[in-house]
């Protein structure tokens, strides 16, 4: 499959996928809307991104940016209705999952694509032991016996470094701490050695010292199994350490894509720049913080033109009428910057000052 440059201007991938050149997962022009009593909320409005095996894509955005909805659409766990996917493709190894039967999708979910949620406590069943829940994956998908499944569960718990796994396999979720529960979630996601893991705010509910442990574990396991990882987060800090590339979302669109180091060094979209400027620094005491004015848009009434225009310091008339495509970002002299894109009419001014 060749990557065609459409109107939205998809940006060439920074890294090649497997031999055939097909990315592990590719989302094309995805739209998701929710029909509510107040009207149609357009949660995702034409998202394109792709992940290769062994690669980490961070999807960064605030609440309502559509980052989690996109992930739910990929997993096929969107509530429909009220949700609806009027347009778009989700290609897993080149196959459009939106065209598959429910049964085919169910087979992919869990065994090929797994998801880790923010709140481990509510994602685990409180009345079943952790070992039973881990073993369930093997019993259902691989038809293992109870005893073998339990042995596999212990092995998994060891792998995510839960101390005394053998003794704790019969414990219930509430008997574990937050960090340990998140490890169990990771173990569950890993159980069938999937090709892709989607982690939705995996460390947001955890304390900083535990956050670091869990992120390290996730990164290490990803390397070990050569999995693709989509990391959904609102925290610019968490992303910096682990991601290869970043997609920044705003009002259901990707406003900027870039390899991780370049995004922080030279943002090419005013929203990204504003976000970076508005976080206080640990290593210095600033004066007044830069604040992006206004509030995130209401998805029922996304502003015309560029959705960010009412809050943008750079907005001009053009921004209020015309929605910017994702432009390929280049150096001042026109040298291509692979993997970089910005959905801003004035990306040149933003990146080159």
């Amino acid at each position: 499959m060749t990557t065609t440059t459409e109107k939205t201007g998809r940006v060439p991938e920074p890294r090649a996928g497997d031999a055939s050149g097909t990315p592990l997962l590719e989302v094309r022009d995805l739209h998701v809307e929710f029909h509510t009593r107040d009207g149609v909320a357009k949660a995702v409005n034409g998202v394109n991104y792709s992940v290769n095996a062994g690669e980490t894509l961070a999807v960064l955005g605030e609440s309502g940016s559509g980052k989690s909805v996109t992930a739910q659409a990929i997993m096929g766990i969107l509530d429909m209705p009220p949700g609806k996917i009027p347009q778009g493709e989700i290609l897993f190894k080149g196959q459009d999952m939106l065209k598959m039967s429910a049964e085919e999708r169910r087979k992919i979910r869990g065994s090929k694509i797994a998801m880790i949620f923010q709140d481990a406590l509510s994602s685990l069943n409180p009345v079943l032991s952790v070992g039973y829940q881990l073993g369930e994956m093997f019993r259902v998908h691989q038809g293992l016996s109870k005893k073998d499944a339990k042995a596999k569960a212990v092995e998994l718990m060891d792998r995510v470094r839960i101390p005394a796994a053998k003794q704790r396999v019969g414990d219930y979720p509430h008997q574990f701490s937050g960090g340990m529960r998140q490890r169990i979630m990771i173990a569950m996601a890993l159980a069938l050695e999937p090709d892709l893991i989607i982690a939705d705010e995996p460390t947001t509910a955890l304390d900083v010292t535990v956050q670091a442990q869990v992120m390290d574990l996730l990164a290490e396991l990803q390397r070990e199994f050569n999995m693709g990882l989509i990391l959904i987060t609102h925290d610019l800090g968490v992303v910096a350490d682990v991601a290869d590339k970043i997609a920044v979302m705003y009002a259901g669109r990707i406003v900027e894509t870039a390899p991780v180091k370049e995004l922080y060094a030279r943002p090419a979209h005013p929203y990204t720049r504003g976000l970076l400027d508005s976080i206080p620094r640990l290593d210095q005491k600033g004066q007044e913080l830069y604040a992006i004015k206004g509030l995130p848009p209401n998805l029922l009434r996304i502003p015309a033109g560029c959705a960010f225009n009412p809050r943008c310091p750079r907005a001009e008339d053009l921004c209020r009428t015309e929605s910017p495509a994702l432009h390929a970002v280049t150096e001042r002299d026109g040298t291509a910057l692979p993997g970089r894109g910005s959905a801003c009419h004035f990306w040149k001014e933003t990146i080159h000052g």
Partner: protein
């Protein structure tokens, strides 16, 4: 008068109680009648003088068993001997992970929970012993901003009623006819349209709601505001707006803040001094530069090194300390130093002897930023946040 700073009685009763030899002595007020107490509470405090002094504050929540006849089987030691001063006009940040007791400290300072032992002196008056009118006078002066802007406003009341409620509870604060006008002014001060006075909370976004919460806190012209995670529920782009607003209000109204948060970057940004809590005790306290650039307690060092930094270059250059294990249960904390179970420096002494919150001997008398209070037997400086 002076010896009340050290709670001798408590020390004798419980060896675990933190003794902080070098916090300033409290000038205890000698007011006895309600009128005298009220006069003390309303007296102005010079900038830089202590306004709120906490001494050996303890809060144990009993663990009980049985339905009809409850039997105490233990206690969650949420706060276990905490002492600090808040100076007029400053912001004292309190950081720590969940379960360290920082929110319980906020509730104790607000008199929303009754302290198991210890004192809270507001202008030299121990407010844990007050009740009735005198306590109400304290409430006028110490207010709170809550974490969750979605649950801290009554959904059945209009914004005008929410911000005006302090005046109904304290009618002396504003004459009846002026109240509506005062509410409009307060809305304006926090950056909301005064015309919004008749709206209901659910018509606002999270950031706007937090502004309403701040306006309510400001209504009675308090001197101290306790902020319990005031921005952690907000979006990143809105956090900065609220932090800036709080800094502006501090200057405008001459407020003193206690700013409780788990986000170390925001705490550094807003605080003049920072206290680090671990498992119900204060591990280290000092100025923002002393804590962030010259931490001496291993927990502070680990905490700082774990904070994700939104800058891949700085992040790579960092000295990362990854702690093993989880925070122990506050119902059954480790003996001696509470951090020893996760500390890479722990020795026998740490299990036997509770380290006091004091300037470590190695640094005592030296003029170095490392010479600040740190509750560690083996305190040593270690820079974990590379200088910008």
């Amino acid at each position: 008068m002076a010896d009340s700073a050290k709670n001798d009685k408590a020390v004798a009763a419980d060896a675990d109680t933190d003794v902080t030899p070098n916090v300033s002595e409290v000038e205890v007020s000698e007011a006895s009648t309600t009128a005298e107490v009220e006069a003390v509470l309303d007296a102005p405090v010079e900038r830089g003088e202590p306004i709120l002094q906490v001494r050996n504050l303890v809060k144990h929540f009993p663990l009980t068993q049985g339905i009809l006849f409850k039997k105490q089987i233990g206690a969650v030691k949420a706060v276990d001997g905490v002492s600090f001063d808040l100076y007029q006009g400053e912001t004292l940040g309190i950081v720590g992970e969940s379960g360290c007791g920082k929110s319980t400290v906020a509730k104790l300072l607000m008199m929303l929970e009754t302290a198991t032992s210890g004192e809270i002196f507001y202008k030299g008056q121990d407010i844990t012993k007050l009740s009735g009118r005198a306590l109400k006078a304290v409430r006028r002066n110490i207010q709170m901003v809550f974490q969750d802007p979605y649950t801290s406003l009554n959904p059945r009341m209009t914004v005008g009623d929410i911000i005006g409620e302090p005046f109904e509870i304290h009618p002396e604060a504003a004459p009846k006819g002026d109240r509506r006008q005062r509410v409009r002014e307060l809305l304006d001060v926090v950056g909301l349209n005064p015309e919004y006075i008749n709206r209901y909370p659910h018509q606002f976004s999270g950031g706007q709601r937090q502004r309403i919460g701040i306006a309510r806190g400001l209504a009675l012209n308090p001197e101290v505001i306790i902020c319990d995670e005031p921005v952690s529920a907000l979006d990143v782009s809105v956090q900065a707006q609220v932090v800036n607003l709080m800094e502006k209000l501090q200057d405008e109204f001459n407020l003193s803040y206690i700013f409780i948060a788990h986000d170390l970057s925001i705490v550094r940004h807003i605080s003049d001094r920072v206290g680090v809590m671990y498992l119900g005790k204060m591990a280290e306290i000092g100025s923002d530069s002393e804590i962030y650039d010259h931490p001496t307690h291993p927990y502070t060092q680990a905490l700082l090194s774990a904070v994700p930094v939104p800058d891949p270059a700085a992040s790579a250059a960092r000295d990362r300390i990854i702690l093993t294990g989880d925070v122990p249960s506050p119902a059954n904390p480790p003996s001696g130093c509470r951090f020893r179970t996760r500390c890479w420096k722990a020795q026998d002494k740490c299990a036997e002897e509770v380290p006091l919150l004091a300037v470590p001997e190695v640094f005592a008398g030296r003029k170095t930023p490392a010479a600040h209070e740190s509750a560690c037997h083996f305190a040593e400086e270690r820079q974990v946040v590379p200088a910008a």
